[in-house]
């Protein structure tokens, strides 16, 4: 799907889980996370949404961050998953799976518009 414009409230619900999943693949930084989200077909997530979300994840103790110097650039902030984050990802991931299955079950048959 090329036009990845999902309703904002859907994204709000699942974005932290998706970001957690991306960070689970290894330490990564903001721009790369946004690129992964777009690649996965979840649409363009702006910095203004992404960094406060990462701050929340850090406050929860699910990710840690540290800065690395960039070559002549302003550096990158790398985020890494903690054990608590891995646990949360596992739990919430399973929950989300059940949740979407149930929603899909309900939405399976949609009466045709009259």
């Amino acid at each position: 799907m090329s036009d990845d414009r999902w309703p904002a409230e859907w994204l709000r619900g699942v974005l932290s889980l998706c970001v957690l999943r991306i960070v689970a693949d290894g330490p990564t930084y903001g721009y790369a996370i946004a690129a992964r989200l777009a690649e996965a077909g979840l649409g363009e997530v702006k910095g203004g949404t992404l960094y406060p979300l990462l701050t929340r994840l850090e406050t929860e103790g699910w990710v840690t961050s540290n800065w690395t110097a960039g070559e002549g650039g302003p550096g990158r902030k790398f985020f890494a998953l903690t054990d608590a984050g891995a646990q949360a990802l596992l739990q919430r991931g399973q929950q989300w799976h059940v949740f979407t299955q149930r929603a899909a079950g309900l939405l399976q048959s949609v009466p045709t518009a009259r």
Binding site: G30, Y31, K46, G47, G48, Y51, P52, K77
Partner: protein, 188 residues
């Protein structure tokens, strides 16, 4: 490289003010500013494209930190303390008395309330010096307590640049000298 480095700098200046007004801790402000700089350098976006207006983004950051939302009025009530206000008014008054005294000295007239011009002038200069010293000391203390630290370099991101201090000192001094010269011209 960001498209317009100056606009990144001015965006960060605005953002810093709005974050301060929401009482975000200095270390966190440093993180947020560094994130903005790093992100726009990577994407080539304008900061307001990627993060929205400084005001809105500051709101989002404060919300992510679970800081209570407060308007500028509440911030002023907390930030402005009576002693500071009193010092500010005293400084303003002594500036006026000093300017008036210098003019009178230049013109060879008597000063305020018919006193010899040098008396209110010296008094005002002393008060001004004491008040300035107090303000500078207070400013130093606060900056140390909650500085906006760049997480990458440990540098103070809101350092009081030398040229700013020069402007703050030079402009009043020039104006006061101008009062004296004005008095000389008027008196001759």
């Amino acid at each position: 490289m960001a498209k317009a480095p100056t606009s990144v700098a001015s965006y960060c200046d605005d953002l810093l003010l709005h974050l301060r007004a929401r009482e975000v801790p200095g270390a966190r402000i440093g993180e947020v500013l560094a994130e903005v700089q790093s992100h726009v350098a990577e994407t080539g976006e304008r900061p307001d494209e990627a993060f929205g207006s400084p005001r809105d983004y500051a709101d989002q950051v404060a919300a992510a930190l679970d800081l209570p939302r407060s308007g500028p009025a509440a911030f002023l009530r907390r930030a402005v303390q009576w002693p500071d206000l009193l010092v500010a008014v005293t400084l303003g008054l002594s500036c006026f008395v000093l300017a008036d005294g210098l003019w009178s000295l230049g013109a060879g007239e008597r000063g305020l309330f018919g006193l010899p011009a040098w008396r209110p002038t010296v008094l005002a200069a002393l008060v001004l010096a004491a008040g300035t010293a107090r303000t500078v000391r207070a400013g130093r203390r606060e900056r140390d307590a909650d500085a906006v630290i760049d997480p990458r370099t440990g540098a103070d991101m809101a350092a009081f640049a030398g040229w700013r201090l020069a402007v703050l000192v030079v402009v009043p001094v020039v104006l006061l000298v101008a009062m004296f010269v004005g008095g000389l011209v008027a008196g001759s």
